[in-house]
Symmetry: C2
Subunit: 100 residues, 2 copies
């Protein structure tokens, strides 16, 4: 449980946007931050996820595998948060209304 959601999000966003700098913009961060988040993730997993040059990004096999899982995890978190947000506004149980 050493990996963080932020790091997973950085990874997924980099893949989706095609570059670290594009991901940075999308995440409202600097490229520096995204680059480090990615390195941190790889270090924690002890695996190379993305083979990168200054021009091209290429997913490794491990990256491919992890990507799918990371996506699902991020979606699940989003979903859980949204459900809480909903539950806040829509109290459960019967709704009793007195009509005139």
């Amino acid at each position: 449980m050493k990996t963080s959601l932020e790091e997973m999000l950085a990874f997924v966003t980099v893949v989706d946007s095609g570059s670290i700098s594009a991901a940075a913009e999308q995440l409202q961060q600097t490229a520096s931050g995204v680059s480090r988040a990615l390195s941190r993730l790889e270090e924690k997993l002890a695996v190379t996820l993305l083979r990168r040059t200054t021009r091209r990004l290429e997913l490794t096999e491990e990256g491919e595998v992890f990507l799918a899982r990371a996506r699902r995890i991020l979606d699940s978190v989003e979903e859980a948060e949204e459900q809480m947000a909903l539950r806040r506004q829509v109290p459960v149980g019967r709704l009793r209304v007195n009509t005139a």
Copy 2:
């Protein structure tokens, strides 16, 4: 995506162990830290997950709902990490062996 895995883990551990102090021990933290992690999570979700007195813990309805999802998320992360660990040791593809 504001919530963190650490906070979810704190929440789940508190529920499973029955108290904040027990969870703290299990997580190798202080009760103070776990208590704050829990409060942080509730604040971020803007929801009360656990109604707590000094003696009793009671899941709210929202807590119940979130608990199930948090468990699944934590398991998924664990799984993803383990898969990377495996893949590290067991390179994929054909294994060629020259026998004498």
